[in-house]
C-alpha cells in the first residue's frame, strides 16, 4: 500500500527516493523544546503507514532543568521498519539535535556515517561554552565522519512566522514543528493526522495553532527545496497480522487492561493511587474513564492508596493501586494485610531506578525481590510481569483473573521502559476477552469465612451488605475455617503453609520455548521488559547461523509448571536482567540450576549488540 492509499500527503517529490528497511531516529533537545511531542507525532504518523515501530523516550527527572545544559536534555528515540522489530534500536541512524547540549549528550551513541541534523542558530559561543565545547563542532571537523546538516531551524521558523502577532520567543517555540516537518518530508510521513492533532490541541489559541502549522509546513517544504537534502527515504509497510492496530504505550495499555478486566468481571474498578514517576500516567488515564464506573482516588500517601484499594476490594470492588519502587516499599504492610485477609488486590509497580529515589525517570528491574519478599512474615503474593508495552494490557487482565480467583494480592511488574515506550498493538476483539465474572458469598447459615474452595484454596469473597454472613476479619492469625483469632502453634503452621500452597497452586500458562531447530544448547531466558532486546539479539544470532533458544517468564510467583523441565533441557541458560541477578537468584534456589547472568544497571534497556556479544561468549568461549 502506498502513502497515497493511506491518505498520505502527495507531493511532487522531485528528488530521488531511496528505499530503506529500517530507520532509527532520535529527537533530542532541551526539556522545554517539545521533543517528546515531536517524537510522539512522528510515531503516530509512522504507525499509520503500517511500519512496525518501537519507541523509547528518555527525559530528565527535572521538569525544567537549566536551559541549554546537559542535564536538561530530553530525547525520544523511534525505530521503524518494514519488518517486525523488537526494540527502539541500539544506535540512531539520524540524530536531530536542537542545541549543542543535545549534540554533546547524544553523540557518543551515534555511529559514524549517521545523519546529524542540528539547529545551527543555537550553536552560539555562549551555548557552546555552557556545555564545555571549546570549539564549534559544526566547524572544527569533529563531525566530518557524519552526514551533518546544519540547518538554521530557529531563524527560518521565526522568519516564517513574521506575519503573526507573536513575540520572537513565542515564534521560536514552534521550531520543533519545523524539525518534525523536515523529518516528515525525509521519510514521507503523511501530514494530515499531525495537522488535525495541532488543530485540536490549539483550538482555542489560533495564533499558536497557525504558528505550529506554518512551522510544520515550512519544515516540510525546506526539505523538498533545499539542496542540503539530496534524497528522501521510503520504508515499506511491515508484514503484520491482519487487524485493527493502534500505537500504544505500556501505561495506557495497562490502564485499558484494568478497565477491560473490570468490564469482564462486572465489578467496578477502584484505583487508590499516589502520584509517582513513572506510574502516574495510569492514574491520569483511569481518571478519564468514569463512564466505565471507574473511581480514581488520589490518596494522601502510598499507604492510604493501597489501603483504600483494599477497603474497596473488601466491599466487592476491583481494588487496584499503582506505584513505583519507593511506593511499593511503603505499601508492604498493607499488602501483608491483604495476604492475611485473603482478599483480591492488584498492586501495579512500574519499576524505576533505585534504591531510594534512585533514577525516577529511568528504567530498572530491581524490585523483583521486593515484590516477592518485601513484607514481614511468610507473606506470599502472586507476582507477574509484562514483557512489552502492549503486553501490559494482557497482564493487567491476568492480574485481575488471579486476584479474584484466588483472593490474593497480585503484584504486576512493569518498568519505565515499557511504560513509556510504545509499539503497534493489534486491538483485541472485545468478544474474545476472557470472562472474569466473580462470585460473592451468599446468605447462608453457619457461614465460615475461611472455609476454602478445595481446588483454588480461595476463601469466600464475603462482602458487607450480605445478610447472615456478618463476620470479623483482621491481620491477626486466624483459625482455619472459622476465621476466629487463633494463636495455636499447629494452626499457625497450617495457615502459613496453606497461604503459600494457595499461591503455589495458581494456574498460569506454560512457558513457550522458541527453539526452531530443537537442538540448541543455550537458552536465553528473560523476564519483563528485556523481551524486546533479547528477541532482537536472538534474531541477529540466528541470522548469523547460531543456534539459540529463547523463553520469557511472565509469571514469577508461581513460576510456570514446565519451567523446571525447560531449565533441565538446556545445559546453559543466560538471563539478562537490569539488576544484579534477582531472577537468577530465584531460579537457582528453586531449581538448583546455574544461571549465567548478564546484568547491567544503567537505567537503560539492553542494546541488541551487547546481548549478542554476551550470548556469543556463552556459545563459543566456554
Amino acid at each position: 500500500m502506498t502513502a497515497a492509499d493511506r491518505g498520505g500527503k502527495m507531493l511532487d517529490m522531485s528528488k530521488p527516493i531511496v528505499a530503506v528497511k529500517s530507520v532509527v531516529i532520535r529527537f533530542a533537545g532541551d526539556s522545554g523544546d517539545g521533543m517528546q511531542l515531536t517524537g510522539d507525532r512522528f510515531t503516530m504518523d509512522t504507525a499509520s503507514l503500517g511500519n512496525d515501530i518501537s519507541t523509547l523516550p528518555n527525559f530528565p527527572a527535572e521538569i525544567r532543568a537549566p536551559q541549554g545544559t546537559l542535564l536538561g536534555v530530553s530525547s525520544f528515540q523511534l525505530h521503524f521498519a518494514d519488518h517486525h522489530i523488537r526494540t527502539a534500536g541500539d544506535a540512531p541512524d539520524v540524530l536531530v539535535a536542537m542545541n549543542p547540549a543535545a549534540l554533546k549528550a547524544n553523540i557518543k551513541d551515534i555511529p559514524r556515517g549517521a545523519t546529524i541534523i542540528v539547529d545551527k542558530d543555537e550553536f552560539t559561543s555562549r551555548n557552546l561554552t555552557k556545555v564545555g565545547y571549546e570549539t564549534n563542532p559544526l566547524e572544527d571537523g569533529s563531525l566530518d565522519s557524519y552526514k551533518l546538516h546544519a540547518v538554521a531551524l530557529t531563524s527560518m521558523t521565526v522568519s516564517a512566522l513574521s506575519e503573526l502577532p507573536l513575540t520572537r520567543k513565542e515564534a521560536e517555540r514552534s521550531k520543533n514543528m519545523f524539525a518534525l516537518g523536515l523529518l516528515s518530508w525525509m521519510y514521507h510521513r503523511p501530514t494530515e493526522a499531525t495537522e488535525a492533532f495541532l488543530k485540536a490541541k490549539f483550538a482555542k489559541k489560533s495564533d499558536i495553532l497557525e504558528a505550529n502549522l506554518i512551522a510544520y509546513r515550512t519544515g516540510w517544504n525546506y526539505g523538498e527545496t533545499t539542496e542540503d537534502f539530496a534524497n528522501s527515504y521510503e520504508i515499506a509497510s511491515a508484514h503484520m497480522q491482519p487487524g485493527v492496530y493502534k500505537n500504544i504505550g505500556g501505561n495506557t495499555a495497562l490502564a485499558y487492561g484494568l478497565v477491560a478486566a473490570s468490564h469482564q468481571a462486572k465489578i467496578p474498578l477502584f484505583l487508590g493511587s499516589y502520584p509517582i514517576t513513572p506510574a502516574s500516567e495510569i492514574l491520569h488515564e483511569l481518571s478519564k474513564h468514569k463512564k466505565f464506573g471507574v473511581t480514581t482516588f488520589q490518596a494522601e500517601d502510598e499507604i492510604a492508596a493501597v489501603g483504600s484499594a483494599l477497603g474497596a476490594s473488601y466491599g466487592g470492588a476491583l481494588g487496584v493501586t499503582t506505584t513505583s519502587g519507593p511506593g511499593l516499599a511503603l505499601k508492604g504492610e498493607t499488602i501483608g494485610l491483604a495476604v492475611m485477609l485473603e482478599l483480591p488486590l492488584i498492586i501495579v509497580n512500574v519499576q524505576r531506578g533505585g534504591p531510594s529515589t534512585g533514577l525516577p525517570t529511568k528504567t530498572e528491574q530491581a524490585d523483583l525481590l521486593q515484590a516477592m519478599f518485601g513484607r514481614n512474615g511468610e507473606s506470599p503474593a502472586a507476582v507477574i510481569a509484562a514483557s512489552t508495552p502492549s503486553d501490559c494490557f494482557t497482564m493487567a487482565m491476568e492480574a485481575v483473573r488471579i486476584a479474584t480467583t484466588y483472593r490474593v494480592p497480585v503484584v504486576l511488574l512493569s518498568d519505565g521502559y515499557i511504560a513509556n515506550g510504545s509499539e503497534p498493538w493489534k486491538i483485541p476483539d472485545v468478544a474474545s476477552l476472557p470472562d472474569l465474572s466473580v462470585e460473592f458469598a451468599k446468605t447462608q447459615e453457619n457461614f465460615m469465612p475461611y472455609e476454602r474452595d478445595p481446588e483454588t484454596l480461595a476463601r469466600p469473597w464475603a462482602i458487607p451488605g450480605t445478610k447472615g454472613i456478618e463476620h470479623r476479619i483482621g491481620g491477626i492469625e486466624k483459625q482455619d475455617k472459622t476465621g476466629a483469632i487463633n494463636y495455636e502453634p499447629a494452626n499457625h503452621d497450617f495457615m502459613v503453609r496453606t497461604r503459600q500452597a494457595k499461591v503455589d497452586g495458581i494456574e498460569v500458562p506454560d512457558i513457550d520455548v522458541d527453539d526452531p531447530t530443537g537442538d540448541a544448547t543455550v537458552l536465553f531466558l528473560g523476564w519483563g521488559s528485556t523481551y524486546g532486546p533479547i528477541a532482537s539479539a536472538v534474531e541477529t544470532l540466528r541470522n548469523n547461523g547460531e543456534k539459540i533458544a529463547q523463553a520469557h517468564i511472565k509469571y514469577i510467583a508461581p513460576f510456570p509448571k514446565n519451567l523446571g523441565a525447560i531449565l533441565e533441557k538446556y545445559p546453559k541458560v543466560i538471563t539478562p536482567e537490569m539488576n544484579l541477578g534477582q531472577l537468577a537468584m530465584l531460579l537457582r534456589s528453586k531449581y538448583m540450576k546455574d544461571i549465567v547472568g548478564y546484568n547491567m544497571v544503567r537505567g537503560l534497556p539492553f542494546t541488541t549488540a551487547e546481548l549478542v556479544e554476551a550470548a556469543m561468549g556463552v556459545l563459543h568461549n566456554d
Partner: protein, 333 residues
C-alpha cells in the same frame, strides 16, 4: 430499615471480650451495642474498621461486618470501603496512638475530604497494648516506661486537630457517661459526612485515673463545660463569654447568665469551635463536652458517585470496544 426491631443481643458477637478488668472500653462497647438497634440499620450494612491498639479489638465483639486492620490505617481502608459502598454505615474505631501518631495523616485527610465515616477515637492518653509508653495525647512531663525523666512532647488536642483538618462534625464525650455517649453517637449518625468523636477512656492499668477530674462526683460538675446547641456554655462554676474574637472562662458568680455564649454547633466559622477546643488544657480543669461542631457539607462518597453519574448521564455508559479503538488506528488487511 429493619423489619423486626433488633436488640442489643443481636449486635453482640460470640467472642469473649478480652480487655483488662475495669477498662473503659467495656462501657463504650456496651453503650454501642445498646445504641446500634436505634439506628434501624440491618447488621449486614454496618461495618466497623479498626487499626491496632486495645480499642481496635472492638470490631470482634460486634455482630456486624468488621475488620481489625493495621496500625493507623483504618481511616484509609475505611475510606476505600465507604467511597465505593455508600450504602454501608462505616465506623472507624481508633485510639490516641493509632489515630494521632502512626495514622495522623490518614485521619486528617479523611476529615478534610468529609468521607462518610464515624470515627470513634478512644483517648486514654497512653499506649496500652505495648504496655505503657506515652502517646501523642499524653500530658507534657508524663513519666512512662519510655519517658522515665518525663515526656518532652507537647500533646495534641484531638478536637483542635480535627477542627484544623476541616472536620464537619467534632465531639467529645466520656466512656462512663452512657447517656452522653449515646446522644453524641446519635447526632454523629445523623450527620452527613465524617464525624470525629473523642472519647475520654480510662486505662486502669497504665494510666488509671487520667480523667478523674471529669469523672469524680466531687470535681466533674465544676470541670465539664456542657455544650448543648442553643444553650449557654457552662459548668457548675464556670461559664464562657466572648472577649474580642476569642472565648474566655469566667466565674459564673461574676457575670450575668445572659452574657454567656449560647452554643451554636452549626456556626459555619470553624474558629468558634476551635476557640472552644482551646479552653481545655491537659489538666482537664475546664473541659468542654458535647458537640463542638456540626455543619453540613457534601460527603465525599456522595460527590464521587454524583460525578460518576453525571459523566454517564452526559456521555453514556462506557463502551469498551470504542475505548480500545479510540485514537489513531489503522487497518492491516
Amino acid at each position: 430499615m429493619t423489619d423486626i426491631a433488633l436488640t442489643k443481643k443481636d449486635f453482640t458477637s460470640d467472642q469473649e471480650v478480652r480487655w483488662c478488668p475495669g477498662c473503659g472500653d467495656y462501657s463504650i462497647l456496651s453503650t454501642m451495642q445498646s445504641f446500634l438497634p436505634e439506628l434501624g440499620i440491618e447488621r449486614e450494612n454496618i461495618v466497623f474498621i479498626s487499626g491496632i491498639g486495645c480499642s481496635s479489638r472492638f470490631p470482634y465483639y460486634l455482630n456486624t461486618f468488621g475488620m481489625h486492620s493495621i496500625h493507623g490505617r483504618a481511616p484509609a481502608i475505611a475510606s476505600g470501603l465507604a467511597i465505593s459502598r455508600p450504602d454501608l454505615t462505616v465506623f472507624v474505631i481508633t485510639g490516641d496512638g493509632d489515630a494521632l501518631s502512626i495514622g495522623g495523616n490518614h485521619l486528617i485527610h479523611a476529615l478534610r475530604r468529609n468521607v462518610e465515616l464515624k470515627i470513634l477515637l478512644f483517648n486514654n492518653r497512653i499506649y496500652g497494648l505495648t504496655k505503657g509508653q506515652y502517646s501523642p495525647a499524653s500530658e507534657q512531663g508524663k513519666i512512662t516506661k519510655s519517658t522515665p525523666y518525663g515526656s518532652l512532647d507537647t500533646p495534641f488536642n484531638p478536637v483542635s486537630l480535627a477542627l484544623g483538618a476541616e472536620a464537619s462534625f467534632v465531639a467529645r464525650t466520656i466512656d462512663s457517661d452512657r447517656k452522653h455517649l449515646s446522644e453524641v453517637l446519635r447526632q454523629a449518625a445523623a450527620h452527613k459526612g465524617s464525624a470525629l468523636i473523642e472519647i475520654y477512656q480510662n486505662c486502669p492499668i497504665f494510666n488509671d485515673g487520667a480523667f478523674d477530674q471529669v469523672k469524680d462526683n466531687e470535681t466533674k460538675d465544676g470541670s465539664l463545660l456542657q455544650m448543648v446547641h442553643g444553650q449557654p456554655i457552662k459548668s457548675a462554676t464556670t461559664g464562657v463569654i466572648r472577649e474580642g474574637a476569642s472565648l474566655k472562662l469566667v466565674d459564673l458568680d461574676s457575670v450575668d447568665e445572659s452574657q454567656l455564649v449560647i452554643h451554636d454547633a452549626h456556626d459555619p466559622d470553624p474558629s468558634y469551635a476551635f476557640s472552644l477546643s482551646r479552653l481545655s488544657g491537659s489538666s482537664l480543669e475546664h473541659t468542654p463536652i458535647g458537640i463542638f461542631r456540626d455543619v453540613e457539607r457534601p460527603s465525599y462518597g456522595a460527590m464521587v458517585h454524583e460525578q460518576l453519574d453525571a459523566v454517564i448521564a452526559k456521555d453514556g455508559a462506557g463502551n469498551l470496544e470504542k475505548l480500545l479503538n479510540s485514537g489513531d488506528t489503522w487497518v492491516v488487511d
